[in-house]
């Protein structure tokens, strides 16, 4: 067994040839390709122009629930510049519908979803008619000429009402009206622990639907080649291979005839991980027309058809013994996931995290968790950065701080007392979730020192004496990464948990790699490049990492769930280690020196005896490719290596952890919250690029602040989305956001040689709870507490009795 990477010394100065800059693992190198981003040279999906390409737009349902009595497209079709106008009935024969269920989740149901609604529209924004024209503007002109005879139906909007006995069934073919899934975990004697505890308190917490609001909207260009009967789709996506599988299956094409190219992508955050009906319709159109088709969602379409997430109503309970030990956690929750469960991942994953991870950082004796999931006539629900982790962190950490406040014990002290000790891992939670190695104690110790906690509390007391209401809030979080097959594969979703990477030497000794993950801003390309460059001891410029092209890359699960660096990075590491072995073997033959004496440094093969360079990697490659006769006595050089990696030790994934703190000041006259400072200490194992990892954390924290204070998809009682513009759906902007201080604890995972876990979701997972806890800490002297998110000024003023 090789030494794991973290057990070997990283590159030491002695190993490096003179002037060879360390750019490998652990170096904060600049983002690979950053220049093209600042110069406007990066190519996103909407930048593609092709001969004969048509542009589509969609007529979307203006009603949350309506029967489509008839559609008249005659006038639209006759408009000059219009190429085609199609309805759901036109497409039905050419595809298999989506069905967003995971078969390993008992009782989970959904209904078949077609690319365009058939007889019934089930959310405001559901695509109903697709119009293709020579420009998007013309297509939109034609949209106004389509006549639809809508018969409005009773909309089912509120999830509680959706589950009532007499509720209108959104999908009449399903057995239980509008119940999509129900998750329940009961371990230990919950009622007994509650009865015996000195303190049991419950909180009713609600969160509002949010959506990712990627700056680049969803989009694709599809091109069906009628001669070869092959499909190419360029798209902004996190999951090229998943899309390849889904398109192939649902369009009845073999996968080797479907190429998906992940383009430069303007943000994704889980949004670009699903199969969307409008995208699917546009791809089908390319096949029907035999010409390229472009679909780019506009902002209104984005708000009404991108997945929404995180709309929970939960009653959370915590029971604490008189000596301040947490005895039990409980949750009863409900959420509405819109009209369909999304294909192919389903829309109930948040719930699984909530029931499995409630109270995860703490040691306690009993768990009760019950969450119901309802269909409703709203935009379908899906993944958003962190999925359920931010919600379960919010529920847990609001309860913990509330209990500490009630007990008049410092929240830091209370956490130290109740954490599962760092030395007690690996551990299994009451829910059965297995955690490999977490470091809550080490993280909180570092955080407290980073923020100078005692001084902050003193300053807070002084501020209060001056009539200013400051608050300090904490949040301990766990966050899943490096997923195993239990996440989707077992449920039948075509999402690889086994990722390949190909590393190939070129004739001049440079390296060309292919991986099926994508980089939608995370820095995955940079991390993977660093890993290969580190392993082969080459400068970064000698390694080119191509991502996300299914025609070039081996199968991959793609970029989601903080898996890119941990999983695809390990495949890249293994491929380059194998390539390095082959390079040393061939060098030994070419220069007739025993293999054990040769090492690879800075593009040179070096003889350890005498330290002389035998020759360059370029010379070796030249010989291997152009003069294979020089290797006659041994096997032919194999200078392209593919290795796969699957994390199989923890089927549920490798958990990361960390802790955050927020300092806020609340203006009690206006209810406005000023974010003064934010801290995070994160443990993502081996950090490949500290600067880019920190930026992942910062960006995600600000997204979390958005959900805590600003964001929400606001619906009226008819299921109409009321704020589908960026002027009305408030996102964090530069002016109000705090500077963020970042620290790391490094507990490498032993499930890989690389030792890296994920970092992309940790920031958002803890930020929401930290900020809400800080606000409530500030309001405590006024006996105020806000439990509905977002924590808007009016809610704050109501909580402290200024308005009613």
């Amino acid at each position: 067994m090789r030494l794991r990477l973290y057990e070997r010394p990283l590159v030491t100065s002695a190993e490096l040839v003179a002037n060879h800059k360390h750019e490998g693992i652990g170096a904060s190198v600049q983002r690979v390709g950053a220049k093209r981003l600042v110069q406007g040279q990066a190519r996103y999906c909407d930048d593609i122009e092709m001969a004969r390409m048509v542009h589509v737009c969609f007529l979307r349902s203006p009603y949350a629930h309506a029967r489509i009595a008839s559609i008249d497209t005659k006038v639209a079709r006759a408009m000059p510049g219009v190429v085609s106008v199609l309805t759901g009935a036109d497409l039905r024969a050419h595809c298999e519908p989506f069905l967003g269920i995971l078969s390993h989740l008992p009782g989970m149901v959904s209904a078949p979803q077609w690319p365009l609604a058939l007889q019934t529209a089930r959310w405001q924004g559901e695509p109903v008619v697709m119009i293709a024209a020579q420009t998007r503007a013309l297509a939109e002109d034609a949209l106004a000429l389509v006549e639809v005879d809508w018969k409005p139906l009773e909309p089912v909007v509120d999830p509680e009402a959706a589950l009532a006995q007499d509720a209108t069934a959104i999908h009449p073919e399903l057995e239980k009206a509008n119940l999509a899934y129900e998750a329940r975990v009961d371990r230990g004697d919950f009622a007994g622990e509650v009865a015996r505890s000195g303190l049991c308190l419950s909180l009713n917490i609600s969160t509002t639907r949010v959506t990712a609001v990627t700056l680049e909207p969803r989009g694709l260009v599809a091109d069906w080649d009628n001669g070869r009967e092959e499909l190419t789709v360029w798209m902004g996506t996190q999951v090229p291979h998943m899309m390849q599988s889904v398109l192939a299956k649902h369009l009845r094409i073999s996968e080797n005839r479907v190429r998906v190219v992940g383009m430069e992508t303007g943000g994704s955050f889980g949004l670009k991980i699903h199969a969307y009906p409008d995208e699917f319709a546009a791809v089908m159109l390319s096949r029907l027309l035999g010409r390229p088709v472009k679909f780019i969602a506009d902002r209104l379409e984005s708000f009404s058809s991108d997945v929404h997430a995180r709309a929970h109503n939960a009653r959370v309970e915590i029971a604490v013994s008189p000596d301040h030990r947490i005895q039990a956690f409980g949750v009863d929750g409900l959420l509405g996931i819109g009209a369909y469960s999304k294909h192919p991942r389903g829309s109930v994953n948040e719930v699984r995290h909530v029931v499995n991870l409630l109270g995860a950082p703490y040691q306690f004796a009993a768990l009760h968790a019950h969450v119901r999931v309802a269909f409703q006539n709203k935009t379908p629900y899906g993944m958003y950065r962190g999925v359920g982790h931010p919600i379960v962190c919010l529920l847990t950490e609001m309860a913990v701080e509330c209990a500490a406040r009630k007990l008049k014990v410092d929240p830091v002290e209370f956490r130290f007392k109740n954490y599962r000790a760092d030395s007690d891992y690996p551990a299994e939670l009451l829910s059965g979730t297995k955690l490999e190695a977490l470091s809550h104690e080490a993280c909180l110790r570092q955080l407290v020192s980073l923020m100078d906690y005692p001084a902050l509390r003193k300053a807070q007391a002084q501020a209060l004496a001056d009539g200013r209401y400051q608050g300090i809030g904490f949040a301990t979080f766990v966050e899943n990464s490096n997923h195993g097959s239990a996440t989707y594969g077992r449920g039948g979703a075509p999402i690889a948990a086994n990722d390949g990477c190909t590393v190939c030497l070129q004739v001049d000794g440079t390296v060309l790699c292919n991986s099926g993950v994508t980089d939608t801003g995370q820095g995955t390309e940079t991390a993977l490049t660093q890993i290969v460059a580190h392993t082969l001891d080459l400068p970064l410029s000698a390694v080119r990492m191509q991502l996300g092209d299914t025609a070039a890359a081996p199968v991959s699960g793609g970029n989601w769930g903080s898996r890119g660096t941990g999983i695809a990075g390990e495949a890249a590491l293994q491929a380059s280690l194998a390539l390095k072995d082959e390079v040393l073997r061939c060098a030994s033959v070419l220069w007739d020196v025993p293999q054990g004496r040769i090492s690879l440094h800075g593009g040179h093969l070096v003889d350890s005896i005498g330290g002389q360079s035998l020759g360059s990697l370029a010379q070796l490659c030249q010989a291997a490719y152009v003069r294979p006769d020089l290797f006659k006595s041994c096997p032919i050089p194999q200078f392209a290596v593919t290795r796969f990696y699957a994390q199989r030790e923890y089927d549920g994934g490798i958990y990361t952890n960390g802790v955050q703190a927020s300092l806020v000041e609340v203006d009690i006259r206006t209810g406005c919250v000023s974010l003064l400072k934010h801290w995070i200490v994160d443990d993502c194992g081996v950090v490949i690029n500290p600067a880019l990892a920190d930026e992942q954390l910062r960006g995600a924290i600000v997204q979390g602040i958005g959900q805590a204070l600003l964001e929400g998809c606001l619906y009226d009682d008819q299921g109409q989305l009321m704020n589908a513009t960026m002027a009305e759906y408030l996102t964090p902007m530069a002016g109000e956001m705090p500077d963020i201080c970042v620290g790391h604890v490094v507990t490498p995972t032993r499930s890989s040689e690389l030792g890296a876990k994920g970092v992309a979701e940790a920031g958002i997972t803890g930020a929401i709870a930290a900020v809400v806890n800080a606000v409530n800490d500030a309001l405590f002297p006024l006996n105020g507490q806000v439990t509905d998110l977002p924590v808007t000024p009016d809610r704050i003023l109501k909580a402290i009795g200024v308005i009613h």
């Binding site: 983002r31 909407d46 000059p80 700056l215 930026e695 530069a734």
Partner: protein, 170 residues
Amino acid sequence: MTYFNDLGPGTGLNIELQLNGQPVRAQVSVRQNLGDFLRESQGFKGTHIGCEHGVCGACTVRVDGRAVRSCLSLAVQADAAQVFTIEGLSDDPVVRVLQDSFVRCHAMQCGFCTAGMVLTAAELLQARPEPSRAEVREYLSGNYCRCTGYESIVNAVMDAAQTLRKALSD
């Protein structure tokens, strides 16, 4: 490459402008916005369309020296104007320094907002060579970035301001 436009007979207007330093004559539909004109008719894809209603700032271009939202401007309004997109500003001393600082400070992730950020920051630094962090945050408050959380972008603008001041004093 030719780009289709949706001109019906007699519905277009002729405009003449300087685009990235080159004279351009074009017939444009009166309803076409400047962003679509730059991207679709002229092929300058570095200008990104994010929200199409003036909130996100991704489509920011320079028109007669000012940072302008090309989704809220009509192409016909650019008649007789000097228009620069990010592609045409690599020789602009302020923009070039900002680009270097953005790279050095890791001030972008997906890169979709970056051109708009750089052009907005350039306008600020031309007017105020020594801004405070708060002023930078305030000035960039009309430019949306979902990825970075803004801190690194503020760092980059401060870094560029310092570099420019140093260059001036040298």
